[in-house]
Homo-oligomer: 220 residues x 2
Amino acid sequence: MTTASAEGARERLPRASVARLPAYLLALDGLWSEGTKLTSSHELAARSGVSPEQLRKDLSFLGSYGRRGVGYDVAQLRGHIGSVLGLEEPNRVVIVGVGHLGHALAAYGGFAERGFSIVGLVDDDPAVVGTTVAGLVVRPVAELADVVASGGATIGVIATPAAVAQQVADALAAAGVHGILTFAPQTLQTPDGVQVRAVDLASELQLLAFHGRHREHAKA
Amino acid sequence: MTTASAEGARERLPRASVARLPAYLLALDGLWSEGTKLTSSHELAARSGVSPEQLRKDLSFLGSYGRRGVGYDVAQLRGHIGSVLGLEEPNRVVIVGVGHLGHALAAYGGFAERGFSIVGLVDDDPAVVGTTVAGLVVRPVAELADVVASGGATIGVIATPAAVAQQVADALAAAGVHGILTFAPQTLQTPDGVQVRAVDLASELQLLAFHGRHREHAKA
DNA sequence: TAGATTGTTAATCGATTAACAATC
DNA sequence: TAGATTGTTAATCGATTAACAATC
């Protein structure tokens, strides 16, 4: 073994394992706030909705942070997963589109404790521009590049109608963000190096409708 | 082959294929609204963000609805996927929690054309109960069972704080919904037969943060 | 030590990609 | 027919599960 970086011998994280890390982090936060300092793969897995085997396998990709016969130190594991995800410093986020959804996102208080800070709000409606939402003044879309740059944002959230989502994505990419979270039901094209994650609420409901029809298995 | 049901020889849809059907539906809607009546696996795949091979494989599980050398009939395929997902009749939805997010969901006009109808809003805040949002009067949480039953809802949406999400889930399950979409960052336990899908915005952002740190690959 | 629990290897399973035969 | 495009089979790849050795 050629000891990769100073911290832990992480080789290559499988995409599926990475996708579960936020759930582990959430479960660890829950344990910590209950005063639990030490946990086991069984307890943590149960709170994350996975099997103990899968949890241990996932954690093994991060390096070994448990102790055999003992378990996992909650604070240490929490810190380590946070560091792998890149959450030591708050990641700065700009929200484009301050309609009902954008407003809801801006007002949501839970982002701060999970590693994010909202540094800018942008909209193209003159009735909304200039108003203050969650302590931030809404800026016109023409100033998007400046909002991103001066706020030091690395992530953009698109909460606009689908019709303008692609041009907003183009503008965000040009402004230099490296990630985009979009709520618009619309496939987006972005340059290499700009990651897109799409959350489409109607699609989620459609999958629930499907499972409602074809259920004989069950649960999550 | 033992010709399964009257419509198409569908055997067993892989979970991963099902998860992509909503995207295909969205792409087909786009084509249809542009007046395109006939499409190819290449065109449809490009608009859905998958490879043509994967699209054809997925569609093959539904039965054969294309014509070799010709392509796919947009309207027919659209109807067929909609029928597989269970969207011919609107699926009725109750939203619990009419804060900013619940309000945004209730006010969003796009659900109707994608197979859903919001039939009830519930909240526990006396200041909100009784107000009208998106044409519906917000009902107290004590009446949840009645709202679900009289509205004929099969799906519940949880847009409450995490602290009460589990008890809302219990109430929704008891009221008889078969699917729950939750936005609360909280693992939910539900009885067999009640499917849960969780959308956690902070988790999505955390995955973007990760990819921002570890990028050498790129794109979506 | 004995019991507990992790980390890892091996076996299974499912999903994706590639190739191509069927057929319009 | 020749060209195009699907549907399906086979090969590869990745993810999950199971088993167990390492070790606290």
